[in-house]
């Protein structure tokens, strides 16, 4: 597959996700208003809301993702290597330098987001910036820049905001019905609302594995191998990325700022070693190929 095929495929998939999201929300609301005997107004509201959300996810997915990850913009003085390495790689690729952000967290990870190479952002944790040397950092940034260049960022960010929001909503609804359900049943007036929430929660919970499958289908794991390979093409130094990945795997700290919706954006799975329900789900949402396989692939270059 050439670079242009990749770009086209990502653009088509992004459009598909947007349409599928609108169809899903409108469909669910329509079925519910049939079941509960509401008028057609609700469906109209759903059409408007989901369309607004879909367009919002296209235009502001980068800002949404950066905000929920708790990222802040960086200056050249504060993170000299991060800033200049990105600048240098962009000189080599004749592309616009993306905006740079950091997450104040000692876990080692990085991701990129945005809707196209002119509106892109790269975000790294302060942990990865402190623990990697310049050539390792170059490997990681080159990997992220190749996501930017072939429009992976558009697809991945839209998936984060739209599909991810459904996944998070189902988590939240389940928790609400599990913990708050009993207390609510004492209150007669909100009984109907409680029942509706419960049913929606159950439906979404049943859908959760399907949503997970959807994310995996859209974010095929091959994407990471491809980004590794084209990143090395930018730096001509596979060792940098190999050492960086080795260090990232050795680091066992999960990244608190990440969640199911954003996990697939990161260079390495940020939900590793998380205990409890989220950790269990993380395996199902595993969108990252094992790092060992990636290193083997890099060594064969």
């Amino acid at each position: 597959m050439t670079h242009y095929d990749l770009v086209a495929s990502n653009q088509h998939k992004s459009l598909f996700i947007v349409i599928a999201f609108i169809a899903f929300i409108v469909g669910v609301v329509y079925l519910m208003s049939l079941a509960f005997g509401f008028g057609p107004d609700f469906t109209v509201v759903a059409v408007v809301l989901s369309t607004v959300m879909a367009f919002g996810s296209y235009w502001w997915s980068d800002k949404i993702v950066l905000t929920i990850s708790g990222a802040r913009p960086v200056t050249r003085q504060e993170f000299f290597d991060f800033y200049t390495v990105t600048e240098n790689l962009c000189i080599g690729q004749q592309m616009k330098t993306p905006k740079l952000y950091v997450i104040d967290d000692t876990a080692m990870n990085a991701f990129s987001t945005g809707r196209d190479p002119d509106h892109a952002a790269i975000c790294a944790t302060t942990g990865i910036l402190a623990k990697l040397n310049r050539s390792e950092l170059e490997g990681v940034i080159a990997h992220e820049l190749s996501h930017v260049k072939n429009y992976d960022i558009r697809l991945m960010s839209i998936v984060s905001v739209l599909v991810g929001s459904v996944a998070l909503l189902s988590d939240w609804m389940l928790r609400m019905t599990a913990w708050g359900g009993r207390r609510r049943s004492n209150n007669e007036n909100s009984g109907q609302l409680g029942a509706i929430l419960f049913i929606v929660g159950i439906v979404l919970a049943l859908l959760s594995p399907i949503i997970a499958q959807l994310i995996q289908l859209a974010i095929s794991r091959r994407r990471e191998f491809l980004a590794d390979a084209s990143g090395v093409e930018m730096t001509r130094n596979p060792e940098g990325l190999i050492n960086a990945l080795t260090k990232i795997t050795a680091d066992t700290e999960p990244l608190e700022a990440a969640n199911k919706a954003t996990a697939h954006l990161y260079i390495a799975n940020p939900l590793k070693n998380l205990s409890g329900g989220v950790g269990m789900f993380a395996k199902m949402f595993d969108t990252h190929p094992p790092v060992v396989d990636r290193i083997t692939a890099l060594k064969s270059i």
Binding site: F80, V85, N88, I91, G92, Q94
Partner: protein, 195 residues
């Protein structure tokens, strides 16, 4: 009917020719821009060196060799910016690459300079400039490669020849010489004796 099909085929061919022509022109302007980027970085290098010299002067007045190398790096960068010829650019880059490790050794040996943030800042800036020069040259090499490939491969070569596109030199490097030969000594296994 036949006329319509012929017209469609002609239109497709015309669009193809326009596409190739514009692609080649775009690459030419990009090659020009990447050469200018190299000049831009050389200029930055030339203006950074005096600052570094001033910052380290107090510490290594006895290290005459380093100052001579710094001066050589600065003047060669200035000549390269002025002339823009590829030999001058190569000379400026190799002068810079020669002086950076020397300063680094001097800095490592001297804890006093190592603690001086002005010096370490200038060192960072200078080695970053060397990186930027490397990437700017790579960009020039890559662009010239894809341009020249279009000039030589079928069918874009037909269009390129028809409009008289000339091959781009890219980064001027002699095609023969010691850098493309492997000497007898280089084929031997490397034995490192740390004693």
């Amino acid at each position: 009917m036949i006329i319509i099909i012929a017209l469609i085929i002609l239109a497709v061919i015309a669009f193809y020719i326009i596409g190739i022509y514009n692609g080649l022109q775009t690459l030419k302007t990009q090659i020009k821009a990447s050469v200018q980027e190299i000049g831009n970085q050389l200029k930055r290098q030339a203006s950074l060196i005096p600052n570094l010299e001033a910052a380290v002067k107090g510490y290594m007045s006895h290290e005459k060799g380093i100052f001579q190398m710094l001066t050589a790096a600065r003047t060669s960068a200035q000549t390269a910016v002025a002339s823009g010829s590829s030999q001058d650019i190569d000379k400026a880059i190799s002068n810079l690459q020669a002086v950076i490790p020397q300063i680094r050794i001097a800095v490592e040996d001297n804890p006093e300079i190592k603690a001086d943030t002005t010096v370490t800042n200038f060192m960072q800036e200078l080695s970053d400039t060397a990186d930027k020069l490397m990437y700017a040259r790579r960009s020039l090499i890559d662009l010239a490669q894809s341009y020249n490939q279009k000039l030589l491969t079928f069918p874009s070569n037909l269009i390129a020849n028809a409009f008289g596109f000339k091959e781009e030199a890219g980064l001027a490097t002699p095609m023969t010489g010691s850098h493309v030969e492997v000497s007898e000594a280089e084929t031997q296994d490397v034995k490192v004796n740390l004693q």
